[in-house]
Symmetry: C2
Subunit: 234 residues, 2 copies
């Protein structure tokens, strides 16, 4: 079968880093459940068979625990590695926005490539220059060098109370979606007033740039934090 040797640690390939990131993301999205090979294949746009064979490779390297027909979970080593990649990704994204003045809608694919090649040294320099940041431009928390992430627990536009909220985090990072949010003024840090919702209509939000409607799928991607606003408090 797939013999699990004591195994050297021969520098993970960027493909392996991508798989670990994907598994981590799935694990976050559905806590407790094992991640199926099907979901991984979907997330990485590979065929199911490819994902299966990579799971064996990962299991062999001690990065996931894999049960045939039973999905995978990250091991300690796998999660640690995923965190290191995520840290690189998010610091790079923030760097691209803050230092190079790139748009938050375009930094994701760039970071997707850079995360595999920036050295520890370069990362440290970026981190220092940015002032040891804790969140990236999309509001995603940046893991510490030791591998700890802040687990935030914000409601989305779909689940929050009506009223004033500060945009905290945007989950969908496709360029089109982010550009649309830009035009609406719905970006992390900005305040938006969420109108009364009916149970399956769009969510209506008011910002400095006017009123905007989001369908339920879009609304679920936008996480917010209620604003303590004395003037509006009942």
């Amino acid at each position: 079968m797939f013999e699990r040797s004591p195994a050297e640690r021969p520098m993970p390939t960027s493909t392996i880093e991508d798989y670990l990131k994907a598994i981590y993301a799935e694990q976050l999205a559905r806590p407790g459940e094992r991640v199926t090979t099907g979901r991984i294949a979907e997330a990485l746009s590979v065929t199911p068979g490819t994902a299966t064979s990579m799971m064996k490779t990962l299991a062999n390297a001690g990065l996931v625990s894999y049960e045939p027909y039973g999905g995978v979970t990250l091991t300690g080593a796998g999660e640690a590695l995923a965190m290191r990649v995520l840290r690189r990704h998010r610091i790079v994204e923030l760097f691209l926005v803050e230092v190079l003045g790139m748009d938050w809608s375009e930094v994701h694919p760039e970071a997707e490539r850079l995360e595999h090649v920036v050295s520890e040294k370069m990362l440290e320099r970026m981190d220092a220059l940015l002032g040891r940041p804790t969140f990236d431009p999309h509001g995603d928390p940046i893991p510490t060098a030791r591998g700890d992430v802040a687990t935030t627990d914000h409601p989305s536009l779909l689940t929050c109370e009506p009223g004033r909220h500060r945009v905290a985090r945007v989950l969908d990072q496709s360029a089109d979606f982010l550009r649309r949010l830009d035009r609406c003024g719905v970006v992390p840090g900005e305040v938006a007033t969420v109108g009364a919702r009916d149970d399956d209509g769009p969510v209506v939000v008011e910002t400095t740039s006017g009123r905007h409607a989001f369908d339920r799928a879009a609304a679920a991607q936008i996480l917010v934090e209620p604003v303590q606003d004395p003037a509006t408090r009942s």
Copy 2:
């Protein structure tokens, strides 16, 4: 054999970019001569057979002209691509030194990886932030976006006249060598006084940090530019 199809241009791999860079460097070092597969193998630390087979791949892609047993030369397309890589490499190096404050002795390997992944957009931002620079931290000229390089023609410490010179360029970019130059104050922009040379002894140089001797191999790596110094002119 190796059929030369009209050929699509399916995004060069980083391996291909590395081969083109190496061929370009060899071509510069010995102008006019065709580059042998042996030199390429040496430069990239692969076996001769690997270099040969890659030359066929490159020839097939229209990037080099390859004559069995007769070496290669870059085609127009090959040289254009080499220039694009070199431009990325050198802008990245300068960026790492100027913006991230890294040491000139450590940026080469970092740039070696980054050059394959930075987007045109990111490169443009770095270029702008650096003020459209024309030389990198080692004194290497930065190709323009259109692919033109300044061809400088400086003597080395081995071939220059005795007297005052400004360090213009350092060819050997190994970390150890560059750190040594740092300690000697022999870095691009600094002025050094070259002593009388005998025909096969070391070259002695005086800088603000004192007198330093370089063996002939080292001296050949350091290119200089005579300083017009009225006080010293005969």
